[in-house]
């Protein structure tokens, strides 16, 4: 038990990887399933699943735009409902590996331009009809085309065709090689629904039925008795709601009114633990940072950006603001949670006021204005710390505070210096591509590097692990030295739950283990 705790701490601090942790647990004689949940919670050792009971899950945001159409999902509550009631072709599991879901198996041609999926037989939708290749094609084709309302259509711009070969075989043709495609199919928006669905309540094949749904209020779910796989489905029922006020959300958990709350603040951790509730902290790639636009003053000046990098007191940010529930940022998005693609060879940029002063003097600027909105947890504190440290070396950083609603349209990618937050993407390539692809729609520092474009393309087609790692290292180095992004820290995914509820996984791609907890957790009486 003591060893487990030591390893947990090492994992949390980023000293051992997910894979190494699981291997160590295996060596200690812990079963694979338990080891997965041990990544985040020590109580998993004692847990034996029990059937029955229900949980109330409280997310952080909801409103009249809540949707049951997986394609339109934009928030945790949408993803959660999607995972409760639908399945995808492929899913990501604890060790970030790809696993068969509705696609029983899949194969890819040698240059990664053609995929063939064998669709599982005997899967039924909630209305009783059987899942076939037609449903898969219909669901996936909705992401294609300029007019598609899909929130992830940018992932599928290289798709030329989805085709049903026979009743249980689907072929996907791509215009350019894409070895990451299976990862993209794990997104909550890419769930499979019944072809030509009109009733979203019964359009899925997932572990829990949608009994009722009211946008901006709540949805209720009960166990799907005809589920196609045996994953437990321990809970009788699930209720999904949101409490937008952060303190009200915490109080609801403390008072026992709800069983699970998402998106807690590091400041609340002590209180949650003192109250006897559990905190779930999963190292992840999501981050808050500062964008310096490279196509305009002052961000076009490399020395200014470099100076702002050296002034970030990263250790202190993670220790004080995140209370240790985060990892140091190295000015590129690919931290340790991305596994093999993370470049551990790249040296960690230190807090160095002298160097910062040198670069800022060389830049010729003595003041700048940064637009700040509370778009993510501690970003305002980080900016205040930065302002104070800059003041010590004679640089005047003005902070312009703006509201977070409307921020993405009005400030981000418009003001020369602004703050940003990015969620973790399933692969290093998709994360780098979306934010740093030359002339991309979301190239939020307007940094266009031809070399970066080449590397993004080549690494997708590269199957040799060592060469691929080398390419990713070069990309991370390019971003951290030449782009306009400053990433001082990565935040863990932080949630809290009643200790009676157990069995959470630790996929870092969303709240409570990648938003896919429904069929695995149980509640002790």
């Amino acid at each position: 038990m003591k060893e487990v705790k030591t390893f947990q701490q090492m994992y949390r601090d980023g000293h051992v990887s997910r894979r190494e942790f699981l291997a160590a647990m295996g060596a200690l004689g812990v079963t694979a399933a338990t080891a997965g949940s041990l990544l985040t919670s020590a109580s998993a050792l004692a847990g034996t699943p029990t059937r029955g009971g229900s949980v109330i899950f409280a997310s952080n945001l909801h409103g009249p735009d809540d949707t049951l159409d997986p394609l339109l999902g934009t928030s945790t509550i949408d993803y959660t409902r999607s995972n409760a009631s639908r399945n995808g072709l492929i899913q990501i599991w604890d060790d970030m590996s790809l696993n068969a879901e509705l696609a029983e198996e899949w194969s890819v041609n040698s240059n990664a331009t053609e995929y063939t999926f064998k669709i599982r037989k005997g899967v039924t939708f909630h209305d009783g009809s059987e899942l076939t290749a037609e449903d898969v094609v219909w669901s996936m084709e909705r992401h294609l085309g300029e007019d598609s309302p899909s929130s992830i259509k940018s992932f599928f711009t290289n798709v030329t065709e989805w085709k049903a070969v026979d009743k249980y075989t689907v072929k996907l043709s791509l215009s350019s090689p894409d070895a990451d495609m299976p990862y993209k199919l794990t997104q909550p928006q890419a769930k499979i629904v019944k072809a030509n669905a009109t009733d979203w309540l019964t359009a899925g094949s997932g572990p829990y039925l949608v009994d009722s749904f009211q946008a901006g209020v709540k949805s209720t779910h009960s166990r799907n008795p005809n589920y196609w796989r045996d994953t437990g489905q321990w809970l009788d029922g699930i209720e999904i709601t949101a409490i937008t006020d952060m303190n009200a959300r915490l109080n609801a958990l403390l008072a026992g009114s709800v069983d699970m709350i998402t998106s807690i603040s590091p400041k609340q951790i002590q209180k949650i633990e003192e109250s006897g509730n559990n905190v779930l902290s999963v190292p992840a790639g999501l981050y808050g940072g500062i964008c310096c636009l490279k196509n305009t003053a002052p961000g076009e000046n490399d020395d200014l950006v470099q100076g702002l990098r050296y002034i970030q007191d990263r250790e202190r940010i993670v220790r004080k603001f995140l209370k240790g529930h985060g990892t140091l940022g190295n000015d590129h998005p690919i931290n340790v949670s991305y596994g093999a693609d993370h470049c551990h060879e790249l040296p960690q940029i230190p807090y160095d006021p002298e160097k910062a002063k040198y670069h800022l003097n060389k830049s010729g600027y003595s003041e700048a204005e940064l637009f700040v909105a509370p778009v993510t947890g501690i970003i305002e504190d980080v900016c205040l710390l930065m302002q104070a440290n800059l003041k010590k070396i004679g640089f005047n950083l003005k902070l312009k505070k703006v509201p977070s609603d409307g921020y993405w349209g009005a400030v981000w990618m418009k003001e020369p210096l602004n703050v940003v937050s990015w969620n973790m993407r399933p692969t290093a390539n998709s994360m780098m591509g979306i934010q740093f692809g030359p002339n991309g729609n979301w190239n939020d520092t307007f940094w266009n590097s031809d070399r970066m474009g080449e590397l993004l393309k080549d690494s997708l087609a590269e199957t040799d692990a060592a060469k691929r790692h080398e390419m990713h290292c070069e990309m991370q180095k390019l971003v951290s030295t030449q782009s306009g992004i400053i990433i001082p820290y990565h935040t863990n995914v932080l949630d809290a739950h009643n200790p009676k509820v157990q069995g959470f996984s630790n996929v870092p791609l969303g709240q409570f283990g990648g938003n896919q907890w429904m069929e695995h957790i149980w509640k002790n009486a």
């Binding site: 709601t241 709800v258 349209g409 729609n441 979301w442």
Partner: protein, 321 residues
């Protein structure tokens, strides 16, 4: 006479409604970003935003959008919520509003039923015994509670009754089939918060009004005649104070409609005010307008009742020279 007053009132009310709708429209347009940008969020591109705008009818100049909205409202059509409309999920606003209005009315209705007797009783008691310990206790506690903002009252109550004592739930989580005691228990925290905040004002005003009447000459006459104090207050003073008191109650209920914004947010209560906040965050203009109109109508009706009560209870106002 009364009819003319009624008619002119009605005219003023309509003008007020119109002015409010213009103000809301301008206000929402001043906020950064529009509903298309908010729906697409961080993942918006100029092309997709333009396409969605066209789909939602946001590409027309603002004044035209307003005229279209006004025409529809005049025909009794509140429009379709913009959130989700781009994906063909447009829900008629009337459908969204119905359960929310019911929830808010249920909450404010229960609060009203509790607040009025309690505050009248306490206000009268204080006025009957001015300067006594009881009066001072009432004055002190009401003054303190008035000075505390309602979100703080709500948070303190949650900490005491939900977190420490565990008597009531910390949020209002309605299953939809609650009745009787279960319903009261579910709604206890927001009711308690609103009762505390609303009653303090009414208690103070009742006391002040009654005491004010008590210092008028005819009461002095009654005292000199030897009428018992209790009879003076309940028989002579209270009736002359009814006008101002009803006025205060109506104004406070109107305030209550605004006060539920904070309370609904804190207790995650699916009412009209929470819907309006969500509408503003989404820049869902027709939805915000509809909510604002409902709040405005409520306010106008309550103020109208207050004015009528003043006029009816005062013969001098009933027959102006």
């Amino acid at each position: 006479m009364l009819w003319r007053a009624l008619l002119s009132r009605l005219g003023i009310s309509l003008v007020t409604l119109w002015v409010v709708s213009v103000l809301i429209f301008i206000g929402t347009n001043l906020l950064p970003g529009d509903v298309a940008q908010i729906i697409l969020g961080q993942m918006a591109t100029p092309e997709s935003t333009a396409a969605l705008r066209a789909k939602l009818g946001l590409d027309k100049p603002p004044y035209l959008q307003y005229v279209v909205w006004l025409q529809n409202v005049a025909m009794g059509d509140l429009g379709i919520s913009k959130a989700g409309l781009g994906a063909g999920l447009g829900t008629p606003i009337v459908e969204i509003l119905e359960p929310r209005i019911f929830n808010t009315l249920r909450l404010t209705g229960l609060v009203t039923v509790i607040v009025i007797p309690i505050s009248l009783f306490l206000g009268l008691i204080a006025a009957m015994h001015p300067g006594t310990r009881l009066d001072r206790a009432v004055t002190f506690s009401t003054l303190s509670l008035i000075s505390v903002p309602d979100f703080l009252v709500a948070t303190m109550l949650v900490l005491i009754f939900a977190v420490f004592l565990g008597w009531f739930p910390a949020i209002v989580y309605l299953r939809g089939d609650e009745t009787g005691w279960v319903l009261i228990k579910t709604l206890a925290m927001p009711i308690l918060t609103l009762v505390i905040v609303a009653s303090s004002q009414i208690i103070r005003m009742t006391r002040a009004t009654v005491l004010n009447v008590m210092s008028s000459p005819y009461i002095e006459m009654a005292i000199l005649k030897g009428v018992p104090r209790k009879r003076i207050i309940l028989r002579h003073a209270l009736f002359n104070a009814v006008g101002p008191i009803v006025n205060v109650i109506a104004l406070n209920l109107a305030w209550l409609v605004g006060g539920v914004v904070v309370v609904e947010q804190i207790f995650s209560y699916p009412g009209l005010a929470k819907l309006m906040v969500e509408g503003v965050l989404m820049r869902d203009l027709p939805l915000v307008q509809a909510c604002a109109m409902i709040f405005c109508v409520t306010y106008i009706v309550l103020i109208f009742i207050a004015d009528m009560a003043t006029i009816l209870s005062n013969p001098r106002l009933r027959h102006p020279k």
